[in-house]
Symmetry: C3
């Protein structure tokens, strides 16, 4: 796909410093781009590359100029503008509509006319799939699931019974939504199953990364609100609720019944205990350990980064002696006072 | 499904305070239930909701009464009783028996007459599946696997060659059992594969959560004993052995050859090193880091929960200076002694 | 399969102390082996078992002898030699060549004559699969993927569009390679998608464990070099580059654009931040937290192992008071100086 710089500048509401008729066909990084590429500079740390780049044009922040004769498109937010320009150059292609002959679709499923059902897909009874959606190869859509319009369910996804998806939801391969939550009761030493009868209800414009799992509710539903973005290999327990436009990086685990607010950003590898509440606007850095509710927005962290192993060893020993050290200091204070 | 309170009270061995002929058809939480719902009160923290609930009846502990005219069923253990009552109201439905026309079953597999094989399933040579079991859509059962009776293998599960399952095993979507363990040997800088020739042997009444992985043994078998319950996204290395009725929450990793005892409870996100032993009755809180054997039952913990990022930063710096602090205190003690 | 000790000794370049015509048919551990088994002793910690073992023969280090009449094969590196001998006894069997009738292969895919395509596989347009490779049941190979020769793609794997695999790559079930990276830009409070247009390029002799995910590049490619071995449930973000012969244990997460060197060994559960560099030859122990680049080879660690819960509680409290403790010690030093 080929676009002129004038078309791109207009699309991203930018100021073009260059030839309006010059065309680009792809994106590239500042260091690797050639004349056919559009690039961008979002982090001023990389400004030095601007004079060397061979890119056809570069999206930059308003006010950024170059000593070289590189063509620029100046915008308010270069990364957002890049995202929009890249979407022009790489329009999402919906696979051809129709039900693949190797797919199995229950006669009592309602599939909109222009939906794409890929090879080896299974669609069970009572499923409703709205217009413009595609279901990737090998995916399984269990009974009574409802999928909104223009969703992209990729390959080998499992949507368990009664899961509800909004519109424009993107689900990457290997995701499992609506499996039973970890509900067990201890009956005199033996664990018995607590039936998991809630659903998973997912809003509009949600994206869910590869091999992420979201459990169905125990009684009420598990809820993922509009605009939430989840990375890969996240585990979300039963009855968790995640607020609008919250983003969660890979390998996060959230235990059952926890409520995460709106506009939160949760770093990779974080663990969040069950039955707590995280306020709107909370940011957690990577590998945070959250055991209690967080009532105020702000940035929170935990974990002690690596040290050379020998030093780490020493510090762990010291850590375990902390209580004694406090006693010794108290003793010193007492002696000095006397 | 509809049951009278008398029937439910009898099933859960409870004392009914209310109309024996009143019927309920579903379960609900105290706050959301209506007259058609059965609810429960297991945690006295929520007792305040008992007077407001609109539930048809509530399962409570013996001795709990209400000021309102709410109907009660008094039992010894309300959560266990709820689990049993919910199982009455939501009986597990086995999919219709038979082999789906889109499934592929090797002619040398032995499938009991009333087994359900779903769409797009693959069953390889030498597989034996006992009565009453169902295999969900898209699942792959490799050569010589043996599945016991009344198992529920959900969608997109992979059971690798020679895996053995007991009876009443439930496996949720995306689970992989019996993939090769991480066995590699360093041959002068290059890693070569160590053949993984053991199996995975799983007992009765085991439940395994979505996208969990259990590796086959290197030489001997990996063993999961009766009654073990595993949550989602757990990784169990080769030759691990897990004792009866142990429960493990999501995102736990257990490295190779480790032995976990009976009746343990392992919190989410915990990591357990290889080649160690965890005694019976050990409880690990979430995100524990276990590097050595645990010889005594009890509760163990590690990890430092989050703080505001600024404070966390300061504490990490202080932590790294601990060794020096000990030296300074020693110096002070010496000075004071002199 | 049956081999004489003479044949095995020759294959692993060992010195046989025993009957050259004696045959073994399987491997076994020192404690469980019988006369038909070949065993090995790699860790001198287990030397005591050598006198009791009933194994037909044992691979040991040069110089190791036994008081009993057990047959030995002495080699330089017993574990490497065991790996090679076990590969003799358990030769990898390639499934029968051919395209299974339930698989769907796009007419514009190029599949070498002796490739095996299993049941319920999907192969999209433009895929190229080289000689001797097998694709397991339920796997999905998206458009324009290239798979080298003698690869083993197991069941229910997803290779997304344009992924490139070298030769002799092994991919275990549930793996997802080439899903979109977590690229989002904040457009006035709403997250919009940044198209992910790079590929994943994987070298020769790479092995990838069950349910691991490797994201495609945002602009340039994500790169996994020759000889890399990845365990299960690892998450590798977009544009990560991993150097030759590096090994990574289970449940590790590596955030976007990070570069990991050659010959590294990364322990299970480790988290590595994005946009950093790890030097060649770095070793990270399990559950390490890496937030900055590592410029020197060596062993690095973090995390504080478990303690009994009561003691842990106390230490966490003490940890949070560290800053005050430092102030108190400073105060004491000042007092003493005066």
């Amino acid at each position: 796909m080929s676009w002129t710089l004038a078309q791109i500048a207009q699309h991203i509401n930018g100021q073009l410093v260059g030839d309006p008729d010059y065309t680009v066909t792809a994106v590239g990084t500042l260091t690797d781009a050639g004349p056919e590429h559009l690039s961008f500079l979002a982090n001023t740390k990389y400004k030095k590359y601007l004079q060397y780049t061979r890119a056809g044009a570069v999206i930059v922040a308003a006010g950024v100029e170059s000593d070289s004769d590189i063509q620029l498109i100046q915008v308010d937010d270069p990364y957002v503008a890049y995202a929009k320009a890249a979407s022009l150059l790489y329009p999402e292609t919906k696979p051809e509509a129709g039900i693949h002959p190797t797919a199995w679709v229950h006669p009592q499923a309602e599939i909109a006319a222009d939906v794409t059902i890929g090879p080896n897909v299974t669609i069970e009874q009572g499923v409703i799939i709205a217009a413009g959606t595609s279901i990737g190869p090998g995916s399984v859509i269990e009974a009574n699931v409802r999928v909104g319009n223009t969703c992209r369910i990729k390959a080998n996804v499992t949507l368990c019974r009664e899961v509800q998806l909004g519109d424009r939801v993107v689900i990457h391969p290997g995701v499992v939504i609506g499996a039973d939550g970890f509900g067990i009761a201890n009956d005199k030493g033996r664990w018995i199953k607590v039936p998991q009868v809630g659903r998973v209800v997912i809003g509009n414009d949600v994206e869910i990364g590869a091999n992420t799992t979201i459990d169905r509710g125990a009684i009420d539903d598990t809820l993922i609100a509009d605009g939430v973005k989840l990375d890969n290999q996240i585990q979300i327990g039963h009855n968790v609720r995640i607020g609008e436009h919250t983003v969660i990086a890979g390998c996060v685990g959230i235990a059952g019944s926890t409520v995460v607010g709106k506009y939160c950003a949760i770093g990779g590898g974080t663990g969040i205990a069950g039955h707590i509440e995280i306020a709107d606007g909370v940011q957690l850095t990577g590998m945070s350990m959250v055991t209690k509710s967080i009532t105020e927005p702000g940035v929170y962290s935990s974990g002690i980064p690596i040290e050379p192993a020998r030093q780490w060893h020493k510090n762990v020993v010291r850590y375990r002696q902390l209580d004694k050290l406090f006693a010794r200091v108290e003793q010193l204070e007492k002696q000095l006072k006397d």
